[in-house]
């Protein structure tokens, strides 16, 4: 369904080159939920943003449902994006639009008729459990409700693939759980393939089928979730696993991420 081959992206900053992602290859089967996990700065956000070309990869290939996404420009790229939903950590709802109009936005853009939009938005509102919030503006919603609107908006135009960029990182644990359940329901009922990135191991363990572990822009571990978590080989996963215990000195490097974990643990 999704095939990424040797994808690379380097940022050129005044202080030098930063390899955000380096030679990354992986595949996702139709209907699967792939979790990409790593510490901040591991390149997972850049990776997921390359999939719908919010970021421009320097090299490599992305193929979604047989269509090569890399290389598309202008209208064909916009048409491809209409079939790739995306939700964000900061929700990114339009404050000028009511909940109803936020969900209608992608349908307006895709040229749906007024009648079709009405019907589709009503379906989506009940799918995400916000039937009573239709005429409310985003500023009046809680974080969890905002993300539900984000999900409804992302799913409106029947995408084949849903990208989740730290979709639960701004939410409390209980709300996170309810959003994850919603994503799982969408995956099971609608068959939407999901790629989600997170720095929370619980998220991966609770809903993902496959997992990709990233460190410094590279994939260091990948496979089925149960298998990878049973025998973690990467430093990242071992550190995640030990967050509540003191970390041994020889596991620490100079990287800020590790020191962050260290200070959490210590």
């Amino acid at each position: 369904m999704l095939k990424v081959t040797q994808l690379s992206k380097t940022y050129h900053t005044p202080s030098g080159k930063i390899k955000a992602i380096c030679d990354v290859s992986f595949q996702v089967k139709k209907g699967d939920i792939l979790g990409i996990i790593g510490f901040s700065g591991a390149g997972k956000s850049t990776l997921v943003r390359c999939l719908n070309r919010l970021e421009e990869p320097d090299a490599g290939q992305i193929v979604i449902d047989g269509q090569t996404i890399t290389g598309l420009q202008g209208k064909p790229l916009r048409e491809a994006r209409k079939k790739i939903g995306m939700i964000f950590q900061q929700f990114n709802l339009f404050d000028s639009r009511t909940v109803w109009n936020n969900i209608a936005f992608p349908l307006e853009v895709a040229g749906w008729s007024r009648e079709q939009i009405k019907e589709r938005v009503a379906t989506l509102l009940s799918l995400v459990g916000l039937d009573d919030k239709s005429d409310v503006y985003p500023a009046q919603l809680s974080g969890g409700q905002k993300q539900r609107v984000g999900i409804a908006r992302a799913l409106a135009n029947h995408p084949d693939l849903l990208l989740c960029d730290e979709a639960t990182s701004a939410l409390d644990p209980r709300t996170t759980q309810s959003i994850l359940e919603l994503l799982q329901k969408i995956n099971q009922q609608m068959g939407v393939t999901i790629v989600l990135i997170t720095h929370e191991m619980d998220v991966v363990q609770s809903i993902c089928h496959q997992v990709v572990v990233m460190e410094e822009g590279r994939i260091v571990e990948t496979g089925a979730v149960e298998a990878v978590f049973r025998r973690p080989s990467s430093a990242t996963l071992r550190l995640f696993g030990q967050q509540k215990e003191p970390i041994k000195a020889n596991q620490l490097t100079n990287r800020a991420d590790y020191q962050e974990v260290n200070s959490l643990a210590g």
């Binding site: 919010l54 992608p106 009046q140 908006r153």
Partner: protein
């Protein structure tokens, strides 16, 4: 009270309102597209064209560096070309509009720049075209700020009309110079100042009301 004060003030105010309305309208028509182009052609925005962006920025800065009274003099030939004369309220509209348009463009640019990057990215991710993003996201999201900016522009244009009055444009500024200053008519001077203060207060009040009603609708709780 001298009996010519009231008729003088009446025609002066009408001329000034006429100049403000027409020049604001023209300045917005010119400045609004320029402001939008400035924003979206910036690097990393939805239609990056760095050369156009820089060229436009330079022209706008150059126009804005002119002291307004000099700009009027420079643009007088343009007035003669378009209106046929360099005197009167209509002739003044040309330099007023052309002189304020770059200022309006910068104001529009500043307002549209406030729209969070994430919202624009969401629209891009949903497959919206640059034109759709401008019409459905940038302008609606920045609406309250745009109204505040336009209020500021109208007030600046009001003060420009008074300056233009000094060199033959008519209106309240002309009254203040020709009667208040040159003929020592303190009553006219004071009346024009009061009229201008009332105009500016009125514009500010109206703009605030409009902008606040938008904010309140979007951010009310319950």
């Amino acid at each position: 009270m001298p009996d010519d004060l009231l008729p003088l003030m009446l025609t002066g105010t009408i001329e000034t309102l006429y100049m403000i309305t027409l020049s604001s309208l023209m300045a917005f028509l010119l400045g609004f597209p320029l402001g939008i182009i400035l924003v979206i052609t910036a690097p990393n925005h939805i239609w990056p064209l760095p050369h156009l962006h820089n060229a436009l920025g330079t022209v706008i800065n150059a126009t804005r560096s002119f002291p307004f009274i000099i700009l009027i003099v420079v643009l007088l030939p343009l007035s003669r070309l378009i209106v046929g004369t360099t005197l009167g309220a209509t002739a003044a509209v040309v330099p007023l509009a052309v002189g304020s348009a770059p200022f309006v463009a910068r104001l529009i640019e500043n307002s549209l720049k406030e729209v969070e990057r994430g919202k624009i990215e969401a629209a891009i991710a949903l497959g919206a075209s640059p034109l759709e993003i401008v019409g459905k996201v940038l302008i609606p999201e920045a609406l309250a700020s745009l109204i505040r900016s336009m209020t500021l522009a109208v007030i600046t244009i009001t003060s420009f009309t008074a300056t233009a009055g000094a060199i033959g444009a008519g209106g309240l500024g002309s009254l203040a110079i020709r009667y208040g200053y040159m003929r020592y008519r303190d009553d006219v001077m004071i009346a024009t100042i009061v009229a201008l203060i009332l105009l500016v207060q009125g514009f500010q009040w109206g703009g605030n009301l409009l902008a606040r009603s938008i904010d309140r609708r979007r951010h009310q709780f319950g």
